[in-house]
């Protein structure tokens, strides 16, 4: 521990000052997000290849997705990004009450996204669109459509897992914020969780047109 009498709460002794500590944690999170880009990137490459191989099947299969629910979910996620960034802003200004309120709002909106997603998934189960032995798709593109739905479930599933982890992280931060862990000087966990949350939003920004808007014209 630092013996400096003026060292701020949350200041780790191996950093010169709080600014340097904040920069280090931000950069660390961006490094993690770069690995996340590559993690999701593999699925996006697979999507690009299979879509170029089976354009008609992807067009037909995509029409089976619920555009309204997908669009609503995009809106819900953008709202949650707004509340998240306002949570970070209140943390920067040391407004604990606002921070707590915006964290709750973000958790609620994130959960709403997952509930809507669950409705979509259950619909797909009823329509026998889960890839596997029970998969049914009328028309000449059955097997190729199955590939679309494999990618749909892997991409949205991986995204949903990230949402669940994000909600878990925010819940812990909410508990800590209520107990007064964060100040205007020390709020890096909120900042870094915000970066993660916005990244997951960005992934959805690409998933939505790729999966739901293939061939609406």
């Amino acid at each position: 521990m630092s013996n400096n009498s003026d060292s701020a709460v949350g200041h780790a002794h191996h950093f010169t000052d709080m600014d340097q500590q904040r920069e280090a944690s931000t950069l660390g999170m961006w490094t993690f997000l770069v690995t996340e880009i590559m993690f999701f990137g593999g699925l996006f490459v697979a999507y690009a290849l299979y879509r170029s191989m089976y354009p008609e099947a992807f067009a037909e299969a995509s029409l089976r997705l619920n555009l309204l629910l997908g669009a609503i979910n995009t809106g819900v996620l953008i709202c949650s990004s707004l509340t998240m960034v306002l949570a970070v802003r209140d943390a920067q200004s040391g407004k604990v009450k606002g921070l707590v309120r915006y964290l709750i709002a973000t958790i609620v909106l994130g959960s709403a996204f997952l509930v809507i997603k669950a409705f979509e998934y259950s619909h797909k189960i009823h329509e026998h669109l889960i890839p596997g032995s029970s998969f049914q798709f009328a028309g000449p593109f059955g097997q190729q459509a199955e590939m679309f739905f494999s990618l749909y479930f892997m991409m949205t599933g991986l995204h949903a897992i990230h949402m669940i982890i994000g909600i878990g992280v925010l819940s812990v931060l909410l508990y800590q914020a209520k107990r007064g862990r964060f100040t205007a000087e020390y709020y890096s966990p909120i900042d870094v969780a915000g970066l993660y949350w916005h990244f997951v939003d960005v992934v959805w920004i690409y998933l939505f047109p790729l999966l739901y808007l293939v061939s609406r014209h």
Binding site: D19, R22, E23, T26, L27, W30, T31, L33, V34, I37, M38, G41, G42, F44, V45, A48, L49, L67, A71, T74, G75, I78, C79, S81, L82, M84, V85, L86, R89, Q92, S93, D191, G194, L195, H198, F199, D201, V202, I205, Y206, F208, P209, L210, L213, R216, H217
Partner: protein, 91 residues
């Protein structure tokens, strides 16, 4: 630098832009531009992703080192796309 508190107005403006671009991308998908549809959709998505990164993720107010890291992510993603697809289309 990271203590920089950005006016709320900026965040609301970004939010409204993101919602509007979502509506535009849905609307534009109903018109047939042939092979251009996918490029329009990806273009709008990239504009949205960029303003999320610049304002919500504070990239604009971050040191250039953070820019370098974010850029490295995009560069490596680009390499993965180009090499994989180049392999497939030349088989």
């Amino acid at each position: 630098m990271s203590q920089h508190v950005i006016p709320q107005k900026v965040y609301y403006l970004v939010f409204v832009t993101l919602i509007l671009l979502t509506l535009v991308t849905v609307d534009v998908a109903f018109y047939n531009f042939g092979f251009l549809n996918i490029y329009i959709a990806m273009g709008i998505a990239t504009v949205k992703a960029t303003i999320v990164a610049l304002y919500f993720m504070h990239l604009r107010y971050n040191p250039r080192l953070t820019w370098l890291f974010a850029g490295a992510g995009i560069l490596w993603l680009f390499i993965m796309f180009v090499l994989t697809i180049a392999d497939y289309i030349t088989r």
